[in-house]
């Protein structure tokens, strides 16, 4: 099976002009990227085989103008909900990566009736106290994000400049390592959630995963073995299989449907 074609376009929402890429048919899956901006991985291609994947570039990231308007993550979430509506999508599955997981959580809390299920990839909404490591070079960035940096092509030098440019916004929207407002709201969220951590995550220890399982009433915690913070990039097939199965079956995905018959 070849890679699907991605259509790139912009949508006007809440006074922003928001870039997005889209591919596939079926139930819509909206993806909100991490703090480094929109990075496509093979998992996007794999997910687009079975569903309509819409990956946004949130205001302030990429080539878009600096975003000083959003004060808090709920502000960003409200904008992204409008962007989804502007594409004519009412109900959808939502996936957030790292920084985008916090956006996704707030999106779910603001409009739970529009969400079928929520996937949090290496979520950064709850973090250990202390400063997060800030890579100074593309090599350091790759080493922080991936379980096996030697297998990953180097990122362009601009990736570091991009991160520096968006850091004030990312820091502002990300908030403190523990966000009481968010954590007080999480137990009320009735949407099924899959929280995914790589066992080799060097940005956020995978042990943070248990906090989501504890706070969210319908949360499943999943460890992807030998994946770093960039789970979908490190183990795209493993990531996609679990995410797809969860989106299709929610809590029932714990019941295996694999046949063990070798020969009839």
């Amino acid at each position: 099976m070849g890679s699907p074609t991605w259509l790139e376009d912009h949508v006007e929402a809440d006074g922003f002009r928001i870039r997005y890429v889209e591919s596939g048919d079926g139930a819509p899956l909206v993806h909100l990227h991490g703090g480094g901006g929109l990075v496509m991985t093979p998992a996007h291609d794999l997910l687009a085989r079975e569903r309509r994947v819409i990956a946004f570039e949130m205001p302030g990231f990429g080539e878009s103008p600096e975003n000083t308007r959003h004060e808090t993550m709920p502000d960003m979430a409200r904008t992204m909900l409008e962007a989804v509506s502007a594409l004519g999508v009412e109900e959808f599955d939502l996936m957030g990566t790292s920084f985008g997981s916090k956006t996704a959580l707030w999106t779910a809390l603001i409009a739970p009736e529009r969400l079928r299920a929520l996937v949090l990839e290496s979520p950064a909404a709850i973090r250990p106290e202390g400063r997060r490591p800030q890579p100074a070079t593309p090599e350091e960035l790759v080493a922080l994000l991936h379980a096996h940096p030697e297998r990953v092509p180097p990122r362009p030098a601009s990736s570091i400049e991009q991160r520096a440019r968006t850091r004030p916004m990312v820091t502002r929207l990300m908030g403190p390592p523990r966000d009481p407002e968010l954590e007080e709201a999480m137990p009320g969220l009735q949407v099924p959630v899959l929280a995914v951590f790589g066992t080799e995550d060097r940005m956020i220890p995978s042990e943070m995963g248990r906090a989501y399982r504890q706070l969210l009433p319908r949360c499943h915690l999943l460890f992807v073995y030998d994946a770093g913070h960039a789970v979908a990039a490190d183990r795209p097939e493993a990531f996609t299989e679990a995410v797809s199965d969860f989106l299709d079956r929610h809590e029932q995905f714990v019941v295996s449907q694999r046949s063990s018959v070798l020969f009839p």
Partner: protein
């Protein structure tokens, strides 16, 4: 130095030798029951004599061992051994269900109130045939299984595992281990890959089926890798397994071994099925220094005096055996000496254990 007594639970009756698997045509349930009972008696005696550990292992499809599932055997041992630690060296984790292994170790740790040593091994090449697992995937399965087992012991919330070789949608084991964060882990340190992995994961290593010079080189590699990972293994992080026989004098000990045929070349496991072992070796089972790894196993069939010289066999009076143990402590830096008493007639074997317990063990502490 600490002492462990290893008993492989041999079948003590007639059986065909020099092959694997071994037909059960001559198997007697009476002899089988008796063999297990004697092994349990030996563990019990070791506990009374003050051995620090008693050790069990996993081997399949041969009279060499009636303990294909050491967890079951250890369950029985928990009811007889009240003081010593119970070491399983190991569970052959690449051919097993890692979640089940985590559960079984946690059960044993609970039954013993925290006296379990969790050995995790790859086993010999033939073990892969028993449960139809590709030996080429042995190391990858081992590494993943160990991480999954540790996660199952330590993660307080139910979790799913999306591995390469193992997939579980939800894991939440009961009971939990008594020892926190988890029981001590020992793995084989013989190959360079194993030493590197053990150093990276800060787990202890053991040597069996080797020679003292080969073990010394491998332990050096492990310690250098550990230093590179920012830690220094303690003496107890290195275990050395060796066959032993103790008698009143050196001459008597050597004569016992000759009479019992214990000086004959030892065969078993993969060495008894060369085509099988060749196939596993061809699949990459032995890793990047295949020749050395296979040579280490072949070295088990050297003549008796040479095996004593190479640190593969402790034999003699208590004084002589103590001197041989001192050499292992000094040359290898091993903190745990694991002895398997040579297969000699029962009375001599019991006397050897008692002589070791009274004449060697107390002085071993000071090494």
């Amino acid at each position: 130095m600490k002492a462990a007594l290893f008993n492989i639970v041999p079948y003590l009756g007639e059986a065909e030798r020099g092959m694997w698997p071994v037909p059960a045509r001559t198997y007697s349930s009476e002899v089988g029951r008796h063999s297990m009972e004697l092994a349990l008696e030996q563990y019990e005696l070791a506990d009374e004599l003050g051995f620090d550990w008693v050790t069990l292992a996993e081997h399949h499809f041969a009279p060499l061992s009636l303990s294909p599932n050491p967890m079951v055997m250890a369950g029985a041992v928990t009811q007889r051994v009240r003081r010593a630690k119970i070491a399983l060296l190991g569970a052959t984790i690449p051919i097993l269900n890692p979640v089940r292994v985590a559960e079984e170790f946690a059960m044993l740790d609970t039954l013993t109130n925290g006296r379990v040593v969790a050995g995790m091994l790859r086993g010999t090449a033939n073990e892969y045939v028993t449960y139809d697992v590709n030996p080429a995937e042995s190391r990858a399965r081992f590494e993943e299984a160990m991480e999954l087992i540790i996660r199952a012991w330590t993660e307080p919330q139910p979790f799913g595992w999306q591995g390469r070789h193992f997939r579980f949608r939800t894991v939440s084991i009961w009971p939990r281990p008594v020892q926190q964060p988890h029981p001590p882990i020992y793995m084989s340190g013989s190959s360079p890959e194993a030493g590197e992995f053990a150093a990276r994961h800060r787990v202890s290593i053991g040597f069996a089926f080797t020679t003292l010079p080969l073990a010394r080189a491998a332990a050096g590699h492990y310690r250098r890798c550990a230093a590179a990972c920012g830690w220094e293994p303690a003496p107890d992080d290195v275990l050395y397994r060796v066959t032993a026989h103790v008698a009143g004098s050196d001459e008597e000990a050597l004569e016992d071994l000759r009479t019992a045929g214990a000086d004959a070349p030892r065969r078993g496991f993969s060495t008894s099925n060369r085509p099988l072992d060749d196939a596993a070796a061809g699949a990459g089972y032995y890793g990047r220094d295949t020749a050395a790894q296979r040579g280490r196993i072949d070295a088990q069939s050297r003549p008796m005096l040479e095996r004593i010289e190479q640190g593969q066999l402790l034999a003699g009076s208590p004084d002589t055996v103590l001197a041989q143990a001192r050499r292992i402590r000094e040359e290898l830096g091993a903190g745990i000496l694991e002895v398997v008493f040579a297969h000699v007639p029962r009375e001599k074997s019991l006397r050897a254990i008692e002589l070791f317990g009274t004449g060697v063990l107390p002085r071993l502490r000071d090494l």
